[in-house]
């Protein structure tokens, strides 16, 4: 039905060209003269600079230069767009990437595509380091569900294309839960009971570690309880870290820590790894990416784990927020912004790109990649749990709570993590930690000149 020489995504690109062209016409003026629907083969051929070969510098930790699968993705794109070569470089996680990008932005020499976790995006937007790519990626918006796309949109302007998402699940040791006769908790109340049972059966074992530096988890946990740590109210910010709903979650953890039912221990330390390997830490409430993390430190425990939907505050409810996941942004000072946005749209949101991301053990944000998970083998940690991706797919549909992040997440991160660690050690008030973080975040916003409402 179509010429066999034309690969799949190009046909789609062709179909989208009119829409994309219309958007570009608004955004650009004279330079667009070269752009026409003359059947030029690549979606990135819209600008004059595309005439010559372009090298896109791509900062990412998901696509590692040493990984053949990542290399194949880059080569594939080059094959589809012979003018565009993508160069991978790994500069660290979200914190490192953000600070390096800000430095690069000041120096005026930025990369072209940058991977960043959703929570890091607002800070880069207000720093002016991320480009508004609403028009460039309008064509692929329909390929991504609204609750996922919303994570990259501020003030109706799109600043990123989702790469992967974190549907929240409880990943637990099925064998040990069975052995101890513990039911998989569906509410946080049951979770506390399960923690009690486990610790009673084996005094060295804990349901989970309490990792105070996991700001994102505590934000998600509070969001589930109805709190919004950051939100906008017109042109003002609202901070809800010290709100009553949020403080309720502080009380929940304080109780578990005080009764020694969770182990106060950061994640992924040699200590944590050993405890997980030895069956002394029995679960991790995180997202669908948790199994591959656990597998990387405890491959011998594969086959003993399963994942279930996250416990709820109210029995019977199912709503959760996303936890983690990241997006591709185009730096404001990228010299090849058009090509960069086209590449980001292809990798993150095209059918082909998002399926390739699944091959990297990521949970793709776009529909095609998500569809592909349903027929995908379960993660290596739980080869026996055949319905793993059915469970996560249902979780994504239930992910109706938006977690909004503010421009100073890092300020909260350090203030919160340090103070919560201290409170856990001293057995002092967790509520006070949440309230102090609230104050620190509000003070920092005000110092920068933002309006903060109560």
């Amino acid at each position: 039905m179509t010429p066999p020489t034309l690969p799949q995504p190009l046909r789609r690109a062709g179909r989208r060209r009119t829409l994309l062209g219309a958007a570009l016409a608004v955004a650009l003026t004279a330079s667009l003269a070269a752009c026409s629907s003359d059947g030029s083969p690549a979606p990135s051929s819209g600008t004059a600079s595309a005439a010559g070969p372009v090298t896109l510098e791509f900062w990412t930790w998901s696509l590692k230069g040493s990984d053949p699968a990542a290399k194949a993705i880059v080569d594939k794109y080059h094959q589809l767009n012979p003018n565009v070569t993508v160069k991978l470089s790994e500069v660290g996680g979200t914190t490192e990437t953000a600070s390096k990008l800000l430095a690069a932005d000041q120096a005026g020499d930025t990369p072209d595509v940058v991977q960043i976790e959703y929570r890091g995006l607002p800070a880069l937007v207000v720093a002016g380091a991320a480009k508004d790519i609403t028009a460039d990626v309008a064509g692929v918006k329909a390929n991504v569900d609204a609750n996922i796309w919303a994570q990259t949109t501020f003030n109706n302007q799109v600043y990123g294309v989702p790469q992967d998402i974190g549907p929240m699940v409880l990943t637990y040791r099925k064998d040990l839960f069975d052995k101890f006769g513990v039911q998989v908790p569906t509410t946080w109340e049951e979770y506390a009971k399960a923690a009690e049972q486990i610790h009673k059966k084996d005094p060295d074992a804990y349901i989970a570690s309490f990792a105070a530096n996991q700001l994102e988890f505590f934000a998600a946990h509070a969001a589930q309880a109805g709190a919004q740590w950051w939100s906008t109210d017109g042109s003002a910010w609202k901070v809800g870290i010290g709100s009553e709903a949020s403080l309720k979650t502080a009380d929940f953890w304080q109780d578990l820590v005080q009764r020694d039912l969770v182990k106060v221990e950061p994640l992924l330390t040699p200590e944590w790894n050993a405890q997980v390997n030895n069956g002394k830490i029995l679960s991790w409430a995180a997202a669908a990416w948790a199994p591959s993390v656990i597998y990387s430190v405890a491959p011998d425990t594969a086959g003993k784990w399963e994942s279930a939907p996250l416990p709820q505050w109210t029995k019977g409810q199912a709503a959760v927020p996303f936890l983690g996941g990241s997006t591709y942004l185009v730096p404001a000072k990228s010299k090849h912004a058009k090509e960069a946005a086209a590449f980001a749209a292809w990798l993150g949101a095209s059918d082909e790109g998002s399926k390739l991301l699944l091959g990297l053990d990521l949970f793709p944000g776009a529909n095609a990649g998500r569809q592909a998970t349903l027929t995908h083998e379960p993660p290596k940690l739980m080869p026996q749990q055949k319905d793993f991706y059915q469970v996560t797919d249902q979780v994504i549909k239930n992910t109706t709570i938006p977690v909004t992040w503010g421009p100073n997440v890092n300020v909260a991160q350090t203030a919160f993590g340090d103070a919560l660690n201290k409170a856990a050690l001293d057995k002092s008030s967790f509520r006070a930690v949440y309230q102090a973080t609230q104050q620190a975040v509000v003070a920092d916003l005000q110092k920068s000149g933002y309006t903060v409402t109560q």
């Binding site: 937007v125 720093a127 002016g128 906008t232 950061p266 330390t269 200590e271 050993a274 993590g417 050690l425």
Partner: protein
């Protein structure tokens, strides 16, 4: 008259010669020290402020006066970090220098065997980078991976907590000890070897024992080296960073701003507050400078007497 002009030329040349010789150093000093310091001071008066209203108003750099300095000095975490560093220094500096001096004196005794081997063995840990050393010790401290804890458990003792208070300070000082003794020992040992042997011979003729020679002759004569290593240790202590930063992910007792440099790093690279980090750096640098000068003055009077 030609003679005068020639004289002037010679005088001019004579005046410019030192500058000519000094110029490479001056250029390098300016490029890599004066300008960066100047820029840091400039940055310390600047901060990000919102331009244009709205929740997503852009943050731009602006002059903020002494804001960053008042914030740094009134920040309880920064001040507490200085306190932690002092406590750590009180433990680590005397032990490191004491052991370094002891080893240097032992190596310098006349009938010591395997001197070369011992010197290399003691010095070797210094060649291990601080981050690697911290990781090595970290594994030895963590309950699940530590052979020390394993042995303690086998012997019936409870699990040892190397990261509690005040054990943490000793755990950190131990890393400094392990890697720092060798370096300081070499400096003291070198200075010991520079003492003319005739001094010892005279002492022996007078009937002094080796212990007396060490106490009354060697130690007073290597005092300048001790002052030097002491100064290095004080500066190194105030700049403590890699050990706690490397151990931090392994424990909850080390906060992300545990020592001043960690606080500065955090402000600059995770809070995106270069101005605040610059101000805190300037404060720290001034503190180190003042402390070093005071120490030098104090010890100069005592060790070098009147000729200082």
């Amino acid at each position: 008259m030609p003679a005068t002009s020639a004289g002037r030329r010679t005088r001019l040349r004579a005046a410019s010669t030192p500058w000519l010789f000094a110029s490479p150093a001056i250029v390098l000093f300016t490029l890599f020290l004066v300008i960066p310091i100047g820029y840091a001071i400039y940055l310390s008066f600047r901060g990000f402020r919102v331009e244009g209203g709205g929740a997503f108003g852009r943050r731009v750099q602006a002059f903020v006066g002494l804001d960053n300095y008042t914030t740094a000095l009134s920040d309880p975490e920064y001040v507490a970090g200085l306190g932690r560093v002092l406590l750590y220094g009180l433990i680590s500096i005397p032990t490191v220098l004491g052991l370094a001096l002891l080893f240097a004196l032992l190596l310098d005794t006349p009938r010591v065997r395997a001197r070369g081997f011992a010197r290399t063995a003691i010095f070797l840990p210094y060649a291990v980078p601080g981050v690697i050393a911290s990781l090595l010790w970290g594994f030895l401290y963590l309950p699940s991976t530590s052979p020390i804890t394993y042995l303690a458990r086998q012997l019936g003792a409870g699990p040892l907590d190397f990261f509690g208070f005040p054990a943490l300070y000793f755990s950190l000082a131990n890393i400094a000890l392990w890697s720092g003794v060798g370096f300081n020992m070499i400096i003291i040992f070198t200075s010991l070897r520079a003492i003319p042997t005739s001094v010892y011979e005279a002492a022996r003729i007078d009937g002094a024992s080796e212990l007396q020679i060490a106490w009354r002759i060697k130690i007073p004569l290597v005092a300048p080296a001790l002052v030097l290593t002491g100064l290095f240790s004080v500066i190194g202590t105030l700049q403590l960073y890699s050990e706690p930063a490397t151990l931090r992910p392994m424990t909850t007792t080390i906060s992300s701003s545990w020592v001043p440099l960690m606080k500065i790093y955090q402000e600059a690279f995770s809070n995106d507050n270069l101005g605040g980090a610059a101000a805190a750096s300037v404060v720290l640098a001034l503190g180190i400078l003042v402390l070093s000068l005071l120490l030098l003055r104090f010890f100069q009077r005592r060790t070098f007497g009147d000729n200082a």
